[in-house]
């Protein structure tokens, strides 16, 4: 049986994710000057596999995305290592007054180190204080995106169920797993 590189990355994620990452991360707003770091993960098809968008192919398109989507976003943060350069991003998008949907993306070089888990945990710990009206943080994950499901489970999100044939992802209708985290839920470390 052939094991391709994306399976290797997934196996690594499953077996070596620890509850505290090997490198310290912090979150901060993104700026236009982050465009080149953004291109590192946004051009990677391993990273965009479960994203609704295709890998970026031009710096102009990346700048447009930063201007049109990232900068005006109500809550989006760069995930940074000690050198303050982004290696991914995480966001909470309002669905309505009481619900927010969390989404995150991380450069594949940094998978398997517990970084996404730590970023989600940081957000889950702070978002309800910043948004007191929010009653529910939710995440929709493709059934095949096991790595991302593990991230949410490690933080303490509740797996509520599988929504069959819920949405299109790159031309195919996909089953999506619904997760939630409420202000009354406990974070796991």
């Amino acid at each position: 049986m052939e094991i391709d590189s994306s399976s290797m990355i997934k196996l690594e994620t499953l077996s070596t994710v620890s509850s505290s990452p090997t490198e310290k991360i912090h979150l901060r707003p993104m700026t236009l000057s982050d465009v080149d770091d953004f291109m590192v993960w946004a051009t990677d098809s391993n990273v965009t596999r479960f994203c609704t968008w295709e890998p970026y192919t031009s710096r102009e398109a990346a700048i447009a995305y930063l201007n049109d989507v990232v900068l005006p976003h109500p809550w989006l943060r760069a995930i940074c290592l000690d050198n303050d350069r982004p290696i991914g991003s995480i966001s909470v998008t309002p669905v309505d007054k009481i619900r927010g949907e969390i989404g995150y993306v991380l450069g594949s070089k940094y998978w398997g180190k517990g970084i996404a888990t730590e970023a989600v945990r940081l957000v889950a710990a702070e978002i309800f204080k910043e948004n007191p009206e929010m009653e529910r943080l939710e995440a929709l994950v493709d059934v095949d995106n096991v790595g991302s499901q593990k991230v949410l489970e490690k933080v303490g999100f509740v797996r509520e169920g599988v929504m069959r044939k819920f949405m299109y992802l790159k031309g195919n209708v996909r089953d999506m797993v619904m997760f939630s985290f409420l202000p009354s839920d406990s974070l796991q470390y």
């Binding site: 619900r99 529910r136 509520e160 169920g161 599988v162 929504m163 044939k165 819920f166 299109y168 209708v173």
Partner: protein, 173 residues
């Protein structure tokens, strides 16, 4: 219980009086997102502004040209969500317990997949305490996918909801 024969048809302004009978009943609108209409004029506005412009909303009757005794609606999402649609329904209280909502849902599911070719999934959220509506969906072959906590508002109160779905390959019960 044998399923009743029912008819579905688009709404017409001329049926405002019949609509007022069920849309004006708090017991009927209790778990719906909209409040009861209070007057004939409000019933007319409801038909004009909500029922008629809706992408797919049907009046339920027991005779082909009989009076409206409820509604069933299918609202497709758009973009990446164009494969799914939200189902809603209500029946006049005097007609509860006869399988009318189930029959209307069965008919709506069949027609919706024909009328919306991109549709693959019909879904409905139901409050945990609304057991009658859960039974309607289960009898119509919907599957309960999970409990979504603090999922939505109902009459100003945040509620936990069950999520149900019927996917194109599912069989009618």
């Amino acid at each position: 219980m044998e399923s009743p024969i029912i008819f579905l048809r688009p709404f017409n302004l001329s049926e405002a009086e019949d609509v007022l009978k069920w849309a004006g009943d708090d017991d009927v609108t209790r778990y719906l997102r909209w409040d009861s209409v209070k007057t004939l004029e409000e019933a007319k506005q409801h038909i004009l502004n909500k029922a008629i412009p809706h992408p797919w909303r049907r009046s339920i009757s027991l005779l082909k040209h009989g009076r409206s005794l409820g509604y069933v609606s299918v609202k497709p999402d758009s973009g990446d969500g164009r494969c799914r649609a939200d189902l809603a329904y209500a029946v006049a209280k005097e007609f509860w317990g006869r399988g009318i909502a189930t029959a209307a849902v069965n008919m709506a599911v069949e027609q919706a997949f024909e009328d919306f070719p991109e549709l693959v999934r019909l879904q409905a959220v139901v409050e945990v305490e609304n057991k009658a509506s859960q039974r309607v969906l289960e009898k119509a072959g919907f599957r309960k996918e999970g409990l979504l906590e603090k999922y939505g508002f109902s009459k100003g109160v945040i509620k936990d909801m069950f999520l149900y779905s019927f996917v194109k390959d599912d069989c009618f019960v």
